[in-house]
Symmetry: C3
Subunit: 395 residues, 3 copies
C-alpha cells in the first residue's frame, strides 16, 4: 500500500518535534517541516481510505481565538476531532480573565486535562507571538512542578509574525500541484501586496509565505508599493533562507513587473509595518480618536494603489498566462465581495476551486502538528494506526 | 428480539435516501418517510436497551442557527453525539462571513472533515430554503471537484417553508399514541391558528403539519381567522396529498367549529403570509421604521382574535372531550408565560407531559435522517450495530 | 498495584450516591464524601497511568452557567470528556428561554439524551440552590412519566449556599498535603474574610469551606470584620459538624489574631449576607439606581478593612510561619491584579503553585460525582476499567 511506503519515508528525516511548540516555521529544521508535511499528507489519505487516526480516547484541545476566524477555527476543530480530542473554547468574555487574572494562571487552569492549546492572536504587532511564549512558559512551569500531568502543546493559529498552519498548508498544496517538494525548486513565486478597501490586515501571511517558500529553492519575489514594508527581521530571514536553499529572494515595487513569468502568485493585502506599529500603540493607549484618524490616513493611502489588482491583464504576463493563484481566503473580490479589491471576479473564478483545495490542507497540517508534538516517532504510531485499521465510518 | 423484527421490516420499503438532503417532506416518497420513522423508532429503542448506535469514530456535525433555538439545538447535538459526531457551531458573528464571503465558499470551508450541516433559517419568507439549496449546490461542487472527501448531508432544522424534523417527530408521536401509522387513517387532526401576544412567528410548523399529515389518510382541517393564510403553494400540496392518500383536507375560519369531534388538535400562532412577505421586504431594505409600523399593525390585528385560545370550553367539543393536544413548544400559555395566549393553563397542563414526549422524538428523527443520508441500506447497518452490541454506558 | 488497593478500600464505606444529586455537602454522609474523594483520587491516578476511565460511548453533559466561569467551566468539560460525554452549553441568550418558558419545560427539553446537568447560579441569595432543585424535580417528573430514558444527575457548580466541587477539591488537596483525611484531625484552618476592591462576591466558598472542613476533626475558625456575616443557618451547621466530628468551630473578628498558629489559611473576600439580601431584592425589582447606591455603600464599607490583607506580616504568626495558603482563584493580588487586595504579591507567590495544585483536583471531583451518581457500586466499575485497560493515549 502506498500509505505504508509514505510512512516508511518518515524515517529518512532527522527530526524531533515532540514536546516542542510550533510557533514559527523558521525555528524548525527543513526535516521538521518535511515530516509535518508528510504526516499531514498521510493523515489526509487515511481519512480518504476510511482509516481512523484516533490516538486519544479522551482529552481536550483548547482554542483561544482573540480574533475572528472561520477557516482556522474549523480546521482546528477538525484536527482535534480527527485525533479524538474535544474542543473547548476559551471565551475570554465568559471567563474571569477580565478580572486581572495572570496569563500564567489561566494557562494552567485550562490545562489540567488538556493536550493542546491553539491560539490566534494577530491583532497587535509585537504581542501575539510573545503571548504564546508566555503561555508556553506557564505550561512548562505547571508541568515541571506537578500541576499538569502532561505539557499541552501550543499550536500557533496566527500571530503577528507568522501564520504557520496557513503557510504549511500552502506549501503542501504546492507540493501536490507540482508533484513533490523537490519539483518546486526553481519555480518563481510572487507574494504581492494587493489593494483592499479594508484596513489593518495582519502581516503574518505574507511574512509566513516569504519565510517558508524561500527554504525549498524557489525564486521568491515580494512586491509591494513603497511604504508597505513587512517586519524587517523577517524579510532578512527570507533572504538568508533563499541563499541557503539555492533559491533567490527579491523585493520590488510593481505588481505587473513582479508577476512576469511567475509560476505561482499570491496577491494579498496587508497593512504597512509602521502603521501596524502605530496602531498597536494607539490600541494599547485606548486612543479611539487616534485610531480613527490612522484608519482614515491608511485607507486614503491604500486608495492610491487601487491598480494593484490581480486580474486578467496581469495574469497574461505570468508563465503561460496561467500562474497558480493562491490566497488564504476570504479574498476581496472586485465586483463580488467589494467594489474593487485584491482580485478581479473573472480571474478569481478561474482558480476558485484551487483555492478551496489549498484551504483543505489546513486541518491535516494542524493534526500533523499535534501528532508530531506528542510522539517522538510518528512513523511508529502511524503504522500502528494502519494495522489497527479502525474504520472512521462503520462499514 | 423486537428490535430485529423492526429492522427486518425496513426491507419492505422502496426507499433510498442516501446522499440526498432532507429539505422538505413533500419531496420525499411515502416509503422514504416510513423508513425515517422506523429508523428513528429503532434508534430510540436501542438507546433504551443501552446499545450504542455509534457509526462514526470521528467527524463533525456543523450547526448553523440563524435564529434562536433550544429544542432543535439540543436535538441536533444529541443526534450527532449519538452517532459519534462532534458538533461545531458556525457562529456567523465570530467568523469572517460578514466580510462579504460567499455562501459557496463558506460551505466548503466548514466541510473539509464534516459529515452533516444542520441549518435553521426561518426568518425570511422565500429565503431560508433557498439558502439551504445554495449550500447544497456548493457542497455538490466541492465534492465533485475533489475539495471535499465526502458530501456532507444537509439537515433542515427549520426554514421558511417546512420544519421537517418537527413534523416528522410529531408524526412519530402520533404513530406511537395510536399504535401505528395505519391507525391514523380516518382520524381528524386540526391545525388551528391561535392567538399570541408576539408577532412574526414562522409559518413553517403549520405548513409542515398540513403537508405531512395529509399523506396518511387523516382528515386534516386547517383553521385560521380570515387573512392568516399560509403559502398558497403549500396549501395546494396538502390538498393533493389528501386526495392521494384517501384522507381529506379542509380550510375553515372558526376554531371551535373546526375542533368539533377532532381526535388531534394543534393550536399554534403564526403570522399571516402577506405580512411575512412585507416583513421580508422591509428587513432586506433595512427599513426599521417600516418594521415597527408593521409590527404595530400586526399586533393590533392579532388582538382582534384573542378568543382563538384553546381552552376547556373548546376542548369539550373535541372527540370525547379529549383530543390529543400537540404543540412544537414553547407554547404561549395564558396566565403562565403570558397574560393571554394560545392555550389556557388548565388545558395545557392536561397534556403537558404528552407535549414533552412529542418533543422527545426529535433527536431520533434527526439521527435517522443522518443515518439514512449516509447509508444506502440502513437495515444492514442497524443489524451490524445490534450484533456489535457496544453498550452506551459500561455495564 | 496501588490502584487496586485504593479501589478495594471503597467497599469499606457505607454509601450510595447513585441517582442522587450532589447539591450541598451537608446533605451527604461522611462516607459519601469519603467515597467521592477516593474515586476522584483513583481517577487522577488512572489518568496519570494512561488508563482511560471512559464509561460512556456517547451522551451529553449540559452546562448552564448563569455567571462567569473559567476554572469550573474547564473542570466540568474535562470531567465530562474524561468519562466519554460531550458538553453542550445551554446559553440562555441563544435559546427561547427568555420567551417565558418554564424551568420544568426547559429542564426536560435539554435532557432527552443527557446524562448530567451542571449548573452555576450564584448571583441571587435564596435563588441558586432553589433553581437547581426545581430543575431536579422537573427531571424526576420527566423520568417517572417516561419522557426521559434516564434521570440526568445535577452537579452543583456553585450556588448561593455552597460550592461543593470547590470545597471537595480543597479537601482532597488537604488530604494530599497531609497524607490522609485522618491527618487533618486537630489541624487549625482559618477561613478569613479579606479585602477586595470588587463587590458582591458570593458567600458560597466560605460557607462551603466552614461546613465541610468542620466534619473531619479540624479546628475551624471563621474570621471577618463585624457585619460580614454568612448565612446564619449554614454557620449553625458548621458549629454542629464540629461538635460531632470532635473538632471545633469559632467565629472571630481579627485576621491576625485568627491566623495565629494556623496550619491552613483561606483568606478570601465576600459580601456581607445582609447586603446580598438587599442586592437580590434590588436585582429582582430591576432597581438599577438602588443597585448603584448599594455598590457605593458596600465598597465604602469594604474600604474600611483594607488591612485585612494576607501578607508576610500575617504569615509570620501562623504555624512555623508557613501555614498552607489556599484560594479558589483568581485571588485579588495586591500589586498584581489590583492595587490592594486579598493577598500580597510576595506571599501569594510563595504558595502560587500550591493553589494551582489545589485547583487541579476539581475536574476529578466532578468526574467522581458523575461516576458515583451513575453507579451504585463504583468499585465494581473502576475494577472493570482497570481490567479493560484502554489507554487514554495510544502507546
Amino acid at each position: 500500500m502506498d500509505l505504508i511506503k509514505k510512512i516508511a519515508e518518515l524515517n529518512h528525516y532527522k527530526s524531533d518535534l515532540s514536546g516542542k511548540d510550533f510557533l514559527l516555521t523558521w525555528e524548525k529544521s527543513d526535516d521538521d517541516l518535511k515530516v509535518v508535511l508528510q504526516v499531514a499528507s498521510i493523515l489526509k489519505e487515511m481519512r480518504k481510505e476510511n482509516i481512523s487516526p484516533r490516538i486519544f480516547d479522551s482529552g481536550l484541545a483548547i482554542s483561544n481565538f482573540r480574533d475572528k476566524s472561520t477557516r482556522t477555527r474549523f480546521s482546528f476543530a477538525s484536527a482535534a476531532n480527527l485525533l479524538g480530542l474535544a474542543v473547548q473554547e476559551l471565551d475570554e468574555e465568559k471567563s474571569q480573565i477580565s478580572h486581572g487574572e495572570t496569563v500564567r494562571e489561566t494557562a494552567n487552569m485550562i490545562s489540567f486535562l488538556s493536550d493542546f492549546i491553539g491560539i490566534r492572536d494577530d491583532m497587535f504587532l509585537g504581542e501575539g507571538n510573545k503571548y504564546m511564549r508566555q503561555v508556553g512558559e506557564a505550561l512548562d512551569e505547571g508541568f515541571t512542578k506537578g500541576v499538569l500531568p502532561v505539557r499541552p502543546g501550543i499550536v500557533n493559529l496566527q500571530c503577528d509574525m507568522d501564520h504557520p498552519t496557513q503557510s504549511m498548508a500552502d506549501l503542501l498544496h504546492l507540493a501536490n500541484e507540482y508533484g513533490s517538494l523537490d519539483a518546486l525548486r526553481g519555480k518563481k513565486i510572487v507574494m504581492s501586496w494587493a489593494y483592499s478597501p479594508s484596513y489593518g490586515k495582519p502581516l503574518s501571511v505574507p511574512q509566513g509565505i516569504i519565510a517558508l517558500m524561500t527554504r525549498f529553492g524557489m525564486n521568491v519575489e515580494l512586491a509591494y508599493p513603497e511604504g508597505y514594508d513587512l517586519i524587517p527581521e523577517i524579510v532578512e530571514i527570507a533572504r538568508k533562507n533563499a541563499t541557503q536553499s539555492g533559491g533567490s529572494f527579491k523585493v520590488s515595487h510593481s505588481m505587473t513587473d513582479a508577476m512576469r513569468d511567475a509560476d505561482i502568485v499570491y496577491p494579498k493585502s496587508w497593512a504597512p509595518f509602521h502603521i501596524m506599529q502605530q496602531r498597536t500603540q494607539l490600541l494599547m493607549n485606548g486612543d479611539k480618536n487616534g485610531l480613527k484618524e490612522l484608519e482614515q490616513v491608511c485607507l486614503a493611502n491604500n486608495a492610491k494603489y487601487k491598480d494593484w489588482e490581480y486580474n486578467e491583464q496581469v495574469r497574461k504576463v505570468t508563465r503561460n498566462s496561467d500562474a497558480l493563484y493562491m490566497h488564504c481566503l476570504p479574498a476581496d473580490i472586485s465586483g463580488e465581495s467589494c467594489i474593487q479589491g485584491e482580485v478581479s471576479k473573472e480571474t478569481f473564478e478561474r482558480y476558485r476551486i484551487k483555492t478551496y483545495q489549498e484551504a483543505g490542507f489546513k486541518p491535516y497540517i494542524i493534526a500533523a502538528l499535534m501528532l508530531t508534538n506528542r510522539f517522538q516517532n510518528p512513523a511508529d504510531i502511524l503504522m500502528k494506526l494502519i494495522e489497527r485499521n479502525t474504520p472512521r465510518v462503520i462499514k
